[in-house]
Structures are given as C-alpha cells and as structure tokens.
C-alpha cells in the first residue's frame, strides 16, 4: 500500500496547474464573469494537454490514464474555478467527434438541470422543453428541464467531488493568506484563535475530503464515490462560507472571488448525486453490512 501520489501523478498535477495559471488567471476569470461565453481557445488548449482524452486508451488516440489521474486534473479545474461543461466533454471523449481534442463542447442533462446548453456543440441526452433560468453561478448558464431527466454514471459524481475538493483547497488557501496579511488591533488577524480555528477546520474538512475522493478514485466503488461526494460537497460549501467570513466585509463584495467559489459549490452539490440520495446510498450500504 502506497496511498500517496506517484511522481508521475505529481508531474501531471503540476503541469495542469501551470497551464491553468497561464491560461486562466484572475484576469481571465474576471473576463469570463463579465463577458460570459466560453473561451474556445482555452478549450482547445485543454484538449491538447489531454484534459478530455486522459482516460481514452492510447490506441484510440488518448492518454491511457485512469480515474485517479482524472481526479487530479478536475481538482485543479475546481481550484482554478474553470468554467464550462468539463465533465460532460471529458466523458464524451471517444464517443463524440472532436470532444477528445477540445474541438467540440459537449453538455448533458442531470438532476433536472443542464448547463451551457446554448454554447454546446453536442448535447448527450434528452433536453426537450428546457427553459433558461437566471443561474445563481455567473460562470454557469443553466436551463431547467420539465422532468428529472437522466442521471450520469458514478464517474460524474466522482469528478464533481474532485472539483469540490479543489475549490475547498483554494478557499482554504485564500483564507489563510488573507489571515496572514490583514492586520487589525495591531496584528495579523490570523494570530487570533477565533480566526485561526476557522482556518484549521477548513484544512481538516479539505484533507478528510481529499482522502475520501482519492480513495474512491482508486477503488471506483459507487458507494465510496457517493461518500466522497458527500464529504467534498460539505468541504467546498463550508470552506467557501468560512473564507467569506475571514475576508469580512470584503468577502461580501462582487470583487472578491469567494462568492464565485461558494455559488459553484452550491451548484455542484445540487447535481450529480446531491446530498439526500448520497446519504440514502450510504444508509443502504449500512443495511447491506448488517
């Protein structure tokens, strides 16, 4: 047992982190919020980096890696708050022409919602009667579907959990940096236990979620994936709220990035195995163990 990242996995993570820092920094994030629309150039760059073709076999032109590596990529996407139907396109690689290379934007419905419908080149699934709504997340346009619609495979929930994990890690880091720099009463606010303990709990939530998400990626077990989704949802939503709290009044403004993380975390929690069905799945697993 060596439940740690391999050197190759570390290199993969560093590579995508570097790509996203270059192609999707704060300025690009701001532009995406203000201008809307999907950056097709970035989409193709992700395709060229193997983001979508990662799990496609090499003989089919893919990278030939597995779920653990995909989880690392989506964690980085979550950390950077990367917009777009990333998971639907990733799952369409090899099935939809151009998806693997990032030439096509693919979306799919889940849980009565479908994201990026107007921007998508291909829709996998039934979206008849879709009505646009004013999405709470300014980076994710949404349509509502008349009935529940199809549910995605367990990998959807896992990759969503990975994005939640990345977001939790990012808001934890943002809160800690702010707590180190912001001074009140003549010292950094991070020297006060009330603030310090908020930050410590953020890290605890993130690290527990990390163990759950990484292990679920290794085992691929649907019950473990559902558990990982539960814990990652909790980590992303609560870390974003705590980060906002540490930022104080500044955190309540449109300028701070915190609200974007919180809104996306809310959205991800409602989709691809939301809280109640995930809890029921855990309860069913307990019944099985009885």
């Amino acid at each position: 047992m060596d439940f740690q990242l391999t050197d190759d996995q570390r290199a993969l993570r560093a590579g995508i982190r570097e790509l996203l820092a270059r192609r999707f920094d704060s300025t690009a994030l701001r532009a995406a919020v203000d201008g809307g629309g999907l950056d097709r150039g970035l989409w193709r760059a992700l395709g060229e980096a193997g983001f979508f073709a990662l799990r496609l076999p090499e003989e089919a032109g893919g990278v030939g890696l597995g779920l653990p590596e995909a989880v690392l990529l989506f964690e980085e996407a979550g950390r950077a708050l990367l917009p777009g139907p990333l998971i639907a396109t990733h799952l369409a690689a090899g099935l939809v022409e151009g998806a693997a290379e990032g030439r096509a934007v693919v979306t799919a419905p889940d849980g009565g919602l479908v994201e990026w419908l107007e921007e998508a080149d291909v829709v996998r699934g039934d979206v008849a009667g879709a009505e646009p709504i004013r999405s709470a997340d300014p980076l994710t346009p949404l349509h509502r579907l008349p009935d529940g619609g199809d549910k995605g495979p367990p990998e959807w929930a896992l990759l969503t959990a990975a994005e939640q994990l990345g977001s939790a890690g990012r808001t934890t880091a943002m809160a800690v940096q702010h707590a180190r720099e912001r001074e009140q009463f003549g010292q950094p606010i991070g020297a006060f236990q009330a603030v310090k303990h908020l930050c410590a709990q953020m890290l605890v939530r993130t690290e527990v979620a990390r163990a759950a998400v990484y292990a679920a990626a290794v085992t691929g077990d649907p019950v473990e994936i559902a558990g990982a989704k539960l814990l990652a949802d909790e980590a992303a939503v609560r870390c974003a709220r705590d980060c906002l709290q540490v930022y104080g009044g500044m955190g309540f403004t449109w300028e701070a990035e915190v609200h974007l993380h919180l809104k996306r975390a809310w959205l991800r929690r409602e989709r691809w195995l939301p809280t109640v069905p995930a809890q029921e799945l855990q309860a069913a697993a307990l019944e099985e163990a009885m």
């Binding site: 047992m1 060596d2 439940f3 740690q4 990242l5 391999t6 996995q9 653990p68 800690v176 707590a179 180190r180 010292q187 950094p188 991070g190 020297a191 006060f192 236990q193 603030v195 310090k196 303990h197 930050c199 410590a200 709990q201 890290l203 605890v204 690290e207 527990v208 979620a209 990390r210 163990a211 759950a212 990484y214 292990a215 990626a217 290794v218 085992t219 473990e224 559902a226 558990g227 990982a228 539960l230 814990l231 109640v276 995930a278 809890q279 029921e280 799945l281 855990q282 309860a283 697993a285 307990l286 019944e287 163990a289 009885m290």
Partner: protein
C-alpha cells in the same frame, strides 16, 4: 496512489487472522472495568500471548503498514485492545527505542513487550494541562539521583503501573521549554502516593500522583538533561499517529450494530435518523482512508508520524461523539439506562476532544505548523 497490499503483507494478515481464530475462543472472560488488578492481569496476559506468538513487536519493530494490518485484524476479530499496556507499548516504548541508550533499551523494552511491566504517563499537572510546558514538578540533583517533588494528574493505570514516564523540571531558571527532562520513575519508590479520581462515567479511570522527595537514579533519564521537551514531542507524535487505528475499525462495527438496532425498533424508517447514520458511514470510511494516507506518508518519510495526526485526531474525536449521539437518538429513552452498552461509551467519548491535546490545542497546531499562521492568542 495504491491501496493494495504486498503479498508479504497479505500473508501476514492471513497468518494473524488464522492465529486469532485459534486463540480468541480460549481467552478468559473480560474483567470488570473497576477491577484494576484484574484488568492488568487480563491485558498483560494478552500481551504475553502476542509475545509468544511473535506479534509483540508490531507496534515499534515493524513497518507502519504491518501495524495498521495488525490493529485492523485484531479489532475486527474482537481481540483485546492494548488496555493497560497502552503507555508502555505506544508511548514509552517507542520513545525509549528512539531516544534511549543501549542499556536503557535492554532494561525496559523487553519487559513491555512480554507484558511483564506496565507503564503510566506522568505528563499533565493540575496547573499544566494543555499548557504542558508550565509543568512545575521539580527534580533536584543529589549525587547520582534526582530528588523529585510535585504532583501529576490524569494518570491512567497508575494504580497498577510499574513505571511512570515522568516529565520534570531540572532547570527552573531556563526558558520553560528548555529546563525539562524525561525520567523513568519506578512506581514502588518511597514518596509516591496514588489517589484515584472518579470520572463522569463513574469509574476511577485515572489518578492523581503526589511525589514527595522521590529519589530517581540519574541513569533513568532518557535523552539529555533539560532536553525532555524534544523527547516528549517524539512521544506525542506517536500518540496522535496510529494510536486510534483500532478504534476507527471498532466505530465502523458499532455503526452497523446501531443500524441493526434502528431496524429492530423502527427508527430506521425515520429519514432523519437513517440519513444521519448514512453520513456516519461516509465519515468513518473517509477516516479509514485518511489513516491509510497518513500511514503511507510516514512510510515514505521514514518513521515518526507528522502533524497529519492532528488533522485526524480533530475529526475523529468529533466523529466518535457524533456516533454515540446517533446511538442515543436510535435508543430514545433507553439511552438514559446506564446498563445499555452505548450509554457508558457515550459518556467516555466526551474525553476524546480533551485527552492527548484538546481540540483547541490541536487547531492551534494545525493553524501554526501546517498553515503557517502567526503565533498569538
């Protein structure tokens, strides 16, 4: 990332499982929790069986992964826990193995492994709990001995211990972390009074020690004089490292029993209770994975567990309390019956966010040592 075990590790697991199946049915019945001599005899008897079968060294002679497998399998089979051997096996033993002289290792390690000698912990004092470096128990050099006076508190197993890992102040003028030494104190030395303390669960689980000019040979000091704080940090990292592995396995088993009880009395049909138990299932699965993560990390860095133990302890101590609160929700009014097994466990779970460093201290450790936030208050 790899969660599979090597063929050698799997073979160890299979051999251990087979041995447990043979020896466990022949064990004497568990002693009454208030019968300390009985508990000592039971726990050291089990340790001797492990020694004779070649498993005694697993806590500090083997790899962290073998220890993980050992704790997982013994708990799963319902074998006795370390009990009265806790301090000797998981604290003093590893500390002496890492910091002691050749002579000290030869004197103290084997008796712990054989179950011949039991240790207790003399760290906390009435005025030095979370602020451990405020300890005041004095040790004054007199020839080839230290003369020790003061008081220690929250000392589990003191009633039946042979040795005490004792922190004393050897230089009252040095900065408070610098003037401390780590001594092995024989519990039969003149001048020691043990006064049992009653816990909120109604048992005399720990004790207060009064030390009145107790003479301890200088050769019983582990590590250099006034270097005891560093030696202690080695001990504490073990305490927070893998000490809770068996308990997480036990919690997973208790959760299944609670679900069974909920089925039996119909509370399972209440979605609030059912989903609460579901959340705990996800929680304890994740805590098990976090243990595997921490063990793998310590295998890679070679040895002493890191501050990841604080992250684990913070979450686990809270989850354990949630588990028994959920049991109470399932039991309803029966949860007030001290005769029900989960009621006493619920009471004792209250110590987990206090013992071995309170949750507030652990949060300071995480914030300052992992996140790099400034020291302050």
């Amino acid at each position: 990332m790899d969660l599979s075990y090597t063929p050698e590790e799997e073979e160890f697991r299979a051999r251990l499982r087979e041995w447990l199946a043979v020896v466990l049915p022949g064990l004497p019945p568990k002693p009454d929790p208030l019968d300390w001599p009985g508990r000592r005899a039971y726990d050291t008897g089990w340790q001797r069986m492990l020694y004779d079968a070649g498993y005694a060294r697993v806590h500090w002679g083997a790899s962290a992964t073998l220890r993980l497998i050992f704790l997982e399998e013994t708990e799963r089979a319902g074998a006795p826990y370390v009990g009265a051997n806790f301090v000797g096996l998981l604290h003093a033993g590893p500390t002496i193995a890492a910091e002691g002289t050749e002579e000290q290792r030869a004197r103290w390690l084997e008796p712990v492994l054989r179950g011949d000698e039991v240790w207790c912990q003399g760290f906390s004092e009435p005025d030095a709990g979370s602020d451990l470096a405020a300890l005041r128990t004095r040790a004054v050099r007199d020839g080839d001995a230290y003369v020790v006076s003061g008081s220690k508190i929250w000392t589990s197993h003191a009633q039946v211990a042979d040795w005490c890992e004792l922190l004393v102040r050897t230089d009252p003028d040095a900065p408070r972390h610098r003037g401390i030494s780590w001594l092995a104190m024989p519990m039969d030395a003149p001048g020691i009074t043990v006064r049992p303390l009653r816990t909120l669960a109604g048992s005399d689980e720990f004790a207060q020690l009064f030390l009145d000019e107790v003479r301890i040979p200088v050769g019983h000091r582990v590590g250099a004089e006034n270097d005891g704080w560093r030696v202690t940090m080695v001990t504490l990292s073990y305490e927070r490292g893998t000490a809770f592995v068996g308990e997480v396995v036990a919690c997973r088993r208790v959760l299944v029993e609670i679900a069974r009880a909920a089925h039996k009395n119909g509370t399972w049909d209440d979605p609030v209770i059912r989903r609460r138990l579901g959340c705990l299932h996800a929680e304890f699965t994740a805590l098990w994975r976090l243990i595997q993560w921490n063990v793998s990390e310590s295998e890679r860095t070679g040895g002493v567990p890191g501050v990841g133990g604080s992250v684990f302890k913070l979450r686990y101590s809270h989850a354990r309390q949630e588990l028994y609160d959920a049991a109470a929700a399932v039991l309803g009014p029966d949860a007030l019956d001290l005769g029900r097994e989960w009621t006493l466990d619920r009471l004792s779970s209250l110590s987990y966010t206090i013992a071995a460093g309170t949750s507030q201290i652990q949060q300071n450790i995480v914030a300052e040592r992992i996140l790099g936030l400034p020291k302050g208050r």
